[in-house]
Every structure is written in C-alpha cells, then in structure tokens.
C-alpha cells in the first residue's frame, strides 16, 4: 500500500498564493524514488516544494511528511530535521565559502564538523571548501548546495530546478548524484522532458492541477483526483489510503516549459 511507504501524503491539500490556487485541493502520495514535478514558470512548483518542506502551510487539507502530520507542532518539529530542501536560488549565501555554507547548514541540522567533512568529501568538494560560492562554477556550486542540503542525511530531499543553468555534460554528471541523495528525492523542472529520462515518476503542475505523466513520455497526462470533500480552508482529520487515488494510466508528454520556479 502506497500510504504506508509514502514520504509525502497529501489529503485534500490545496495551495494558494497571490489569491489564486496554485494547487487545487487534491489527494496524492509520493513514495520512495525520484519524483519530478514539471510545470511552466509561475505554475507554483517552487511554492509547492516549499510547502512540502514545511516552510509554507497548505491552505486546505492535510499534509503528512515522513509519517508526521505537519499541521501540529510536534509533527512539524519531528519532521523538519529529516528534510533537505534546496531552493532554486540559494545564491543568497554567495559570500560564504563552500565550507562555511555547509558548516552553517550543519549547525542548524545539529551535525558536527566531522559530518561537514564527510559531506564535502562525498560530493567531491574538499578542494573547493575554501572558495566563495559566487566564485565556483555552477555545477560545483550546486554540489555545495546539495552537500548543505544533505549534510544530515535526510530521508526526503526537495530540489527546486537543480539542473537549471547547467550544461548538458554537467547535468549528466549531476543526475546520478541527485538520485543518490535520499530515499525520496523530489525535483522540479520547467519542462517534463528534463525529468522523464531519469525520474521514476513525473507529475505535471499547470493551472492548479497536478497530473501524472506516464513513464518515459508515452501517453497523455492524467489528472490526480480532486478531493471532493476538501473545501478550501478546511483540514481533514485523517489520511485515506492512496492506492486507489493514484491511477497509473499511460499518458502523453506534457508541453515543455522553460521558466525558473516561483
């Protein structure tokens, strides 16, 4: 049963921003593996990812992350230390060196200096540790961001357009790294074509609807079921099993988008 293994379980969850639904109330689950979310610029991918990261609250429904209800404080505190999140623009820290950046993240994750060294080594950053992020090539800077995101070995990693700005060769080298970061990795991209070759599952977000794309781009997208009894602003007390809510229909490829996330 998917509900039992799902890292993310949304029940009637809706997300609004700027007075419009970025995601209308819907039920879905995300189990282990690499899950891609594609959508055009402004579709709400970044906001949805920040919601999964518990940095935003959904306006409707219930969101469970790693088995914890994010609607209560105990669940929130329990889960936050197990999430790794890298927004699309993490260059706000560009004056830090790579080592400082990872050490900074490690402090808030409750990790020690040895964990920082391990993260640097694991992502091949030992020689770049003393260099400011702004001076690093984009792929190395991304790896520094990934090291900071995963220094605490999270169970769920959320990456907002991680391959944006990388060349084909650098992206090809990075994809295996992304797949190995955590049991569940959720990535976004402007185009489904960027995700289908290497993601286990791809969802498309557009017009406030989340639709499942078939593996490897065959068939047409199928919308995930809306939650009939999840009115906006109303939270549901329990989570339903999601197996029945996740139809696996082979669908065609979505039109590719090109913008950065919100």
């Amino acid at each position: 049963m998917i509900a039992g293994n799902s890292a993310i379980v949304a029940t009637g969850m809706g997300v609004r921003r700027g007075g419009r639904w970025l995601l209308r109330p819907v039920a879905f689950g995300m189990a282990e593996g690499v899950i891609g979310i594609a959508g055009p610029p402004g579709a709400g991918k970044s906001t949805l990812l920040a919601t999964f990261a518990t940095l935003r609250r959904p306006q409707a429904g219930v969101l469970e992350i790693l088995g914890h209800d994010t609607g209560n404080s105990a669940g929130l505190r329990a889960v936050r230390g197990r999430i790794g999140y890298l927004p699309g623009r993490f260059c706000w820290a560009e004056t830090m060196t790579a080592g400082e950046f990872i050490g900074y993240a490690a402090y808030y994750k409750g990790m020690r200096a040895a964990d920082v060294d391990q993260a640097l080594e694991r992502l091949g950053l030992t020689e770049s540790a003393g260099t400011e992020l702004s001076l690093l090539p984009p792929d190395v800077r991304l790896r520094a961001g990934l090291a900071a995101t995963c220094v605490h070995a999270p169970a769920l990693v959320l990456l907002d357009e991680p391959l944006n700005g990388l060349g084909d060769a650098a992206a090809a080298e990075t994809i295996p790294v992304l797949r190995s970061l955590a049991p569940t990795v959720v990535v976004t991209a402007g185009s489904a074509a960027e995700l289908t070759p290497w993601c286990d599952r791809v969802l498309a977000l557009e017009g406030g609807r989340l639709a499942e794309l078939p593996p490897h781009g065959a068939g047409r997208p199928v919308p995930l079921p809306a939650a009939p009894d999840a009115a906006p602003g109303r939270r549901r007390p329990s989570v339903r099993p999601l197996a029945a809510l996740l139809p696996r229909i082979v669908l065609g490829r979505m039109a590719a988008g090109s913008g950065a996330g919100v």
Binding site: S73, R80, I83, W92, E100, Y108, G110, H152
Partner: protein
C-alpha cells in the same frame, strides 16, 4: 573554533556588523557630543547626552535589524529546517545584532564618561543611566528585527525607520509622561537638580520587560509551546506596572538635588556648583573690586554664592547670591557682578531724571566701567576727580540715597567725601 562560534562568525559577516558597529558608534558619539554642555561636567547631563545618543541610535539600529531579518529570511530554508528549536536562528540573529548595537553604545558611553571625568565631573553618579540607554537600544533591535521577520519585505526596514524615528525625535521632554517611555527624551538637567532614580529604574524595567515579552512571544509562536505564556504574562505585567509608575510622574523626570558647593576662600569666599568649579578664579577676580567698593556699606559682602535659577539673587547679611550661565558663556563673570549690583538697589522709582544719571555714574564706578555719556555736571566732574578711596568713603555715607535712587547734586558735595579720604572700613577686601 566551535560550530557555534563558526556560525556566529558567518552570521556576523552576513549582517554587516563590521560596518554597522563603527557607523552606529560614530553617529552615537556625534549625537552625544552635541548634547554635552560645553565647559560643564555634570553627571546628570552626561546621562542625558547618552540617552540622546540612543534617540538617534535606536531608530537606526531598528532599521538595520529589520534589514538583517529580511535578508536572513532567504536562508530560512537552511535555518528553519532544523532539529533545533525553530527560534534558534532568530535568537542567534538577535544575539549578534544586540551585541553589535551594545558595542557601539559602549563606545559612546566611553567617550561621554571620559569627557566628563576629564572635566572633573560633578553631581551624583547614576549607575542606572547606562543600562537605561542600553535596554532601550536592545528593545529597538528586537522590535525592528521581529518586524522584519513578520513582514519580510524590502519596504519593512524603511517602515521601521519611519515609525521609530518620530517616536524617538518628536516627543518633547517634560510635556507628557509619554516622553519618559524608552527611548526617553530628557531635556538638559539644570544645576542644583538631578534625574530621579526612580524614573530611571522604571524606564529600565519597562524596556527590559517589553523586550522580554517580544522575544518570548516570538519564541512561543515559532515553537508553538504554551508554557511560554507564563513568563510572557509576567513580562507584560512588569511592563504594565512600569508604565503606570511612569505615567504617575506626569512627565517630571528631575528633582531638586542639594549639592556641596565648590569654594575658593581668598580674598573672598566664592562658592559655585561643583560642575562649574572652573569658574571660581574668574568669578572671584570679577567680584573682588565690587566687594571692596561696597565694604563698609550696608551691602558689603564677603561671600559670593551661586544659587539655582529658581531663586532670586540678593545681597544680604554679607552674602551676595548670583546665577551663572549653565554653559559659562563668555562674559558670565560680568553678568554675575551685574546681578550683585542689581541686588543692591530697591525697585523704587527714581526721584528725578537727574537721580537716574547719578545712579548710573555710581554704577559705572562700582562695575569698573567707563562713566556714562551724559551731559557734564558739576557732580559728575567732582565724582570723576575723586580718588578710589574717596569714592568708597563717599559711598559709605550716601549708600542709602544710592540704593533708593535719591541721589542729588548736593550728595556730591559736603564734608563726608573728604573726611574719609584714604580710610579703610569693614572686614572684607579693601582694594581692587
């Protein structure tokens, strides 16, 4: 270096403290220096200068803190997804920002204290004065930072400055008790008065209570923990009590402050407020000629005392009281001697225009000034031709007429003038 130390160093660099602290310190020193009374070293006014510096530093520190909070929101994806308390990042930021503001404030305090000590500061020390300013500054930092956390928008620092600046600058000292709320707006403390320690204590409690309430409310909100409610309620209650106590003052922050004067004993006894002891030599030199000329008259005096501005100046019982400019502006000694002269005469109207001229003639001599430009009269010619001793002898005889503005031409003739030629009377100074 520990992980905590490394993070603090990174945070300090990100919040631009290396730039902010010297800038705040410089602005604070200038503000305090402008408030210090030149030439006067009075601890009460040093405290006021320090608090006036906070009136400037507070809004700037609040805006800076709001800017730091808005900027640091961009790292929330690292700082909020934490195994530690969700308030950790904000508390670390507050720790650094408050420390930076306090370092700047300490620099300002050092300048003010050194300046006061260098001029042999007088008056009671107010140990509470320094923490009152510090607590008001920290309150600004906390309020500004939390505003930036709650509303992380580029306009927030500007809004914080726009709100805190008028609050600090537009409250007129002494008009209302609201001017006593931190950052307090104090006017210059007059000599012979002092700040009320109770007001300073209430201001300290008010700022500390409100700061604690803000921090606890934020920590409780981010942690979603109910137990914070108890200390929060205590902090709010303490703040409310301090507010009531400050309101009950009606805005009066000063009280009379008796002080042991600084005196110079020879050739006259001259006593002034210890904050103005630098005036003693000059004032003595100015008062001695007048004392010598009045020696032997009912207005003779051997002691000069500075009195508060609220008391009149008189010459009685051998004591002449004077007021001195708080800033000891040039000519203060001349003005003091004129006050003594003004205390000699009655307010009675002069008997005639001629009496006015005769009094002016004597006044000029008493004050050591050139005789007035008036139509030459026989009396004036005679008085001008007399020696110093003869004039003094003449005044001893005619002092009552001089005091009552009843001098006549005949006052400048007769045997009295000559009889006392060269004579010395009284126990005070006998020559200028």
């Amino acid at each position: 270096m520990s992980e905590f130390g490394r993070v603090l160093r990174v945070e300090a660099r990100r919040s631009a403290l290396l730039v902010a602290v010297p800038a705040l310190a410089g602005a604070g020193v200038i503000a305090a220096w402008l408030s210090l009374v030149p030439g006067v070293a009075y601890w009460d006014n040093s405290v006021v200068a320090l608090l006036n510096a906070v009136l400037l530093l507070g809004p700037v520190a609040a805006a800076l803190s709001a800017w730091a909070a808005v900027r640091e929101r961009n790292l929330d994806y690292l700082r909020d997804l934490t195994a530690r308390s969700p308030a950790t990042a904000a508390l670390l930021d507050l720790l650094l920002l408050a420390a930076g503001a306090l370092i700047a404030y300490t620099a300002v305090t050092a300048v003010v204290v050194t300046s006061t000590l260098a001029r042999a500061g007088a008056g009671p020390l107010h140990p509470l004065g320094v923490p009152v300013g510090a607590s008001a500054l920290v309150l600004h930092v906390v309020a500004g930072y939390l505003a930036g956390r709650v509303a992380p928008r580029p306009a927030t620092p500007v809004a914080v400055l726009a709100l805190s600046w008028p609050w600090a600058m537009l409250r007129e000292p002494g008009r209302s008790w609201l001017s006593l709320l931190p950052p307090p707006a104090f006017g210059r403390v007059a000599l012979f008065t002092g700040l009320r320690p109770g007001v300073l204590a209430d201001q300290l409690v008010w700022a500390a209570g409100l700061t604690a309430a803000l921090v606890l409310a934020y920590a409780g909100w981010t942690n979603r923990r109910a137990f914070v409610a108890v200390p929060l309620a205590v902090a709010l209650a303490v703040t409310a009590v301090a507010t009531v106590r400050l309101a009950s003052t009606g805005g009066r922050a000063v009280q009379a402050a008796p002080v042991a004067p600084a005196c110079r004993e020879w050739p006259l006894t001259v006593c002034v407020h210890p904050a103005q002891r630098a005036a003693l030599p000059t004032l003595t030199a100015a008062a001695v000629p007048l004392a010598a000329r009045l020696n032997g008259t009912p207005a003779g005096f051997t002691r000069v005392e500075q009195r508060p501005l609220t008391e009149p100046t008189v010459v009685a019982g051998g004591v002449a009281t004077v007021h001195l400019d708080e800033e000891l502006a040039p000519g203060y000694q001349t003005r003091a001697v004129r006050q003594i002269r003004d205390g000699l005469v009655t307010a009675r109207a002069c008997a005639s225009p001629a009496a006015v001229r005769y009094r002016a003639l004597v006044d000029a001599w008493l004050l050591g000034e050139p005789p007035p430009q008036a139509p030459a009269t026989a009396a004036a010619r005679r008085f001008g031709g007399w020696s110093e001793d003869r004039r003094r002898a003449w005044l001893r005889v005619h002092f009552a007429a001089y005091r009552d503005c009843a001098l006549r031409a005949s006052s400048f003739t007769g045997p009295a003038a000559g009889r006392h030629k060269g004579g010395k009377h009284g126990s005070g100074p006998s020559s200028a």
